[in-house]
């Protein structure tokens, strides 16, 4: 039981910490509103950072050298990410492409045309996005309706994708389509990679209740794709989905920027007849509960790191950590509003404590419980994969896809 790096890990950490400090992007030159993620200013700064990392040999640390990586270990990759976070570098643009999509595509395609796309992605010149979810295919991730129909050497794509993170900024995407609706749901899917400026493709940002527009809808109206951009075999797209999701790792050290100690800070500023909210017994019990859950989430991250450091695959802790994170965040934000009483309603950068951060995250936290696998899906994962309980009874099993009721 210790939290120490191994000697090799410590040496590596020291090396990358120095390198990051010497090379990290300087956002201070940007106007304040351009320092925020998903703005052009921030994106360009991160593009430059990705190029710097490539020159320094820190892009795609776990990839083999012949693919443009550093041939390093997963724990080195984790250490580099930790040091980036410590240096306040927040980069959401390249993770999807470099950690999930491109490694997955590589398992199926190793042709010159796709391989040409890899160096620009590594360098940060090209951003990739995931085009999987649809209006009728959320948790039911195989319920894809976007159609791909073969015409000569081309495929014609029609349909709609949704919840596509960063699609408005992306240059390329990995798309899952339905190619044979007469087969059962998980069969009859086919994957393609494509350029996001293809004629007939339209990206529309989604304005979420949290106020941001990171997510998008993507529409396909007779978009034509050559067969050499197909990923894997025709009707074997589900294997591509699984390969992608296998690369989805438990987010370690993710933070909403507010925690139990911030709750204590806020409570000690809110006066009551007896002193401050900090003197309220029920509030003190709440702080204890929040501390236990949020610290446990942090510690579960250390358990995942331990597995990685030992060269093992992380266990089922990831799903538990995600649920603690999503539910815990929403609870904490709601309790913060209660503590402010009627004043908690105000969401104003000047009138609200922390410039309205509690209110902003109160709204945003609903999305945490839905994105990346809903609370309910995470609980199914725990029940089925950890506890070994039976899968849900599926009325669509073995039924040709076109005969499955769709509702709205």
């Amino acid at each position: 039981m210790n939290f120490d790096d191994t000697p090799e890990e410590a040496t590596y950490r020291e090396k990358v910490r120095k390198w990051i400090a010497a090379n990290k992007p300087d956002l201070s030159a940007l106007p304040a509103d351009q320092r925020l993620v998903w703005t052009e200013g921030h994106k360009n700064a991160m593009r430059q950072w990705q190029a710097t990392k490539t020159e320094g040999g820190y892009a795609c640390i776990t990839w083999p050298k012949e693919r443009g990586g550093a041939g390093g270990t997963l724990i080195e990759d984790v250490i580099f990410s930790q040091e980036e976070t410590a240096a306040e570098i927040h980069d959401p643009y390249y993770i999807t492409g470099l950690k999930m999509l491109i490694p997955a595509i590589h398992q199926f395609n190793d042709d010159a045309k796709f391989n040409e796309r890899v160096p620009p992605a590594v360098r940060g010149d090209e951003i990739w996005c995931q085009l999987f979810s649809e209006p009728s295919s959320g948790s039911d991730s195989a319920g894809i309706r976007t159609a791909a129909v073969k015409q000569g050497d081309e495929w014609v794509i029609n349909g709609q994708k949704v919840w596509n993170s960063g699609a408005a900024h992306a240059d390329y995407g990995l798309l899952i389509t339905r190619t044979d609706p007469d087969q059962p749901k998980h069969k009859g899917l086919t994957a393609f990679w494509l350029k996001m400026d293809a004629p007939g493709l339209e990206v529309r940002p989604i304005h979420t209740m949290g106020g941001d527009s990171e997510l998008n809808e993507v529409f396909f109206d007779d978009v034509r794709l050559p067969d050499d951009q197909r990923v894997g075999e025709v009707n074997d797209g589900w294997s591509v989905v699984l390969a992608t999701l296998m690369n989805e790792r438990a987010a370690i050290g993710q933070s909403n920027g507010l925690t139990w100690s911030d709750m204590m800070d806020l409570a000690s500023t809110v006066e009551t007849d007896e002193g401050t909210v900090m003197d309220d017994t029920s509030f003190r019990d709440l702080i204890a509960d929040l501390h236990v859950d949020l610290e446990a989430r942090r510690l579960i991250g250390f358990r995942i790191l331990t597995a990685i450091s030992r060269g093992e695959s992380p266990g089922p802790e990831g799903s538990a950590a995600k649920l603690l994170w999503s539910g815990g965040t929403q609870t904490m934000m709601s309790e913060a509003l209660d503590m402010l009483d009627h004043y908690g309603l105000i969401q104003d950068s000047e009138l609200s404590p922390r410039a309205g951060a509690w209110q902003q995250r109160f709204l945003w936290s609903c999305g945490l419980r839905i994105g990346g696998g809903t609370d309910e899906i995470q609980k199914n994962i725990i029940a089925e994969r950890v506890l070994g309980l039976p899968p849900d009874i599926r009325v669509d099993k073995g039924v040709p896809f076109r005969e499955i009721p769709s509702g709205r």
Partner: protein, 379 residues
């Protein structure tokens, strides 16, 4: 980063699990449940003592084996899982820890070897009546080298030969140690929610006792000992929680209703997933406590309180939902789920309730915050 048991510690734990599967099957637990006057299983206690477990964290200089605290945590986890009806917690996590942490060199030399061998069972006598113990409301008195007053309940108070007692001294609360088989001590068994862990009411009438170590603030000394006990007990809670969840899972797989396994319904799946999450919180918190305990880290008080709160919560959730998953059969005396329900409460109250520890945790966090603020201002 190595936030887990080592391979050697895992091997010791596996060996302990195999040993307890043989030495403490559920029939042994039920043997005490159905004959509560026994208080514990003496034969099992003897076999555990033979394994050297009692001395797992006691230094060799005092007759122990000094395997280490993380090793002791691993044993605690297995003891909790097996529901072993033995006074291990009272004697090792509490009495021995009190002597080690607060006793004088002479007291350690005198008392610890017999505890390490299992020959002597020790316990701690704190509670006197309803509510948390406080300096203000304490009645048991220590004066002129003797104790007077009543303590109840005292877990393992019938089986124990020695006890550390919290009493009101001339300068405020103080921890003293006494011989329970000596003069001025009478005891009677008290029935509790968990008959597999005996308890007593102990009457002291001018019973000879000596101050533990140099004396001083007994409440603070007790808090220090309790921090150490809390971590160790959280591992018993963790083991018990894991086992209760496994029982629920197994039953959900074998029980059919409406033509399918009840474990295929999301009402059951999600309920048990929620229990799993509580257990993962307890596991992470307990491991952190084990780290703090084994390294004597300044984080121990906060880590112990968090492990205590998480452990109480996990075992409670796992035990009650195990009965619920079993349905009617789970409510019977013959079925085993109530053994965990009882033990969860025993462990959840024995060194103070989760509620008490939550208060303590927030007090500590507030102190920590004030210190940090003062340091920032000074800088």
């Amino acid at each position: 980063m190595d936030f887990d048991y080592t391979d050697e510690q895992k091997a010791l734990k596996d060996e302990a699990r195999r040993f307890l599967a043989d030495a403490s099957p559920i029939s042994v637990v039920r043997g005490v449940l159905d004959d509560p006057a026994r208080g514990h299983d003496e034969a099992l206690w003897g076999r555990i003592a033979e394994q050297g477990w009692c001395g797992a964290a006691i230094p060799e200089a005092y007759g122990g084996h000094e395997f280490g605290y993380v090793e002791l945590c691993g044993l605690a986890e297995e003891l909790g899982r097996s529901l072993a009806p033995v006074p291990f917690a009272s004697s090792i996590y509490q009495f021995a820890e009190a002597i080690l942490a607060e006793g004088s060199e002479e007291q350690k030399q005198e008392l610890l070897p017999d505890v390490a061998s299992g020959e002597t069972i020790g316990t701690i006598a704190v509670s006197e009546g309803p509510g948390t113990v406080s300096a203000k409301r304490m009645a048991v008195e220590y004066a002129n080298g003797t104790l007077t007053g009543a303590k109840l309940p005292v877990t393992d108070g019938m089986a124990a030969g020695k006890a550390v007692v919290l009493a009101k001294g001339s300068d405020g609360p103080v921890l003293v140690v006494t011989d329970l088989s000596g003069p001025g001590v009478t005891r009677e068994a008290v029935s509790t929610l968990d008959p597999t862990r005996g308890a007593a009411k102990i009457l002291f009438d001018n019973a000879p006792a000596q101050v533990l170590g140099a004396g001083g603030d007994g409440i603070a000394a007790l808090a220090h000992v309790h921090n150490r006990s809390a971590v160790l007990m959280s591992f018993e809670q963790l083991g018990g929680s894991d086992h209760a969840l496994e029982m629920a899972r197994d039953y959900a797989l074998e029980r059919y209703a409406f033509g399918r396994q009840i474990g295929s319904y999301q009402a059951i799946k999600h309920k048990l997933a929620d229990v799993f999450i509580r257990i993962e919180v307890a596991r992470a918190s307990s491991y952190y406590g084990a780290w703090a305990l084994s390294t004597n880290a300044p984080e121990l008080p906060v880590a112990a309180a968090a492990a205590r709160v998480a452990g109480c919560n996990a075992y409670w959730q796992a035990a009650k939902e195990n009965i619920q998953t079993h349905g009617g059969i789970g409510f019977t005396w013959e079925a085993d789920p109530h053994l965990h329900y009882r033990r969860a409460r025993h462990l959840g109250l024995a060194i103070g309730s989760a509620k008490t520890w939550k208060r303590k945790l927030t007090d500590l966090l507030e102190e920590q915050r004030a210190t940090e603020q003062a340091e920032r201002q000074a800088a």
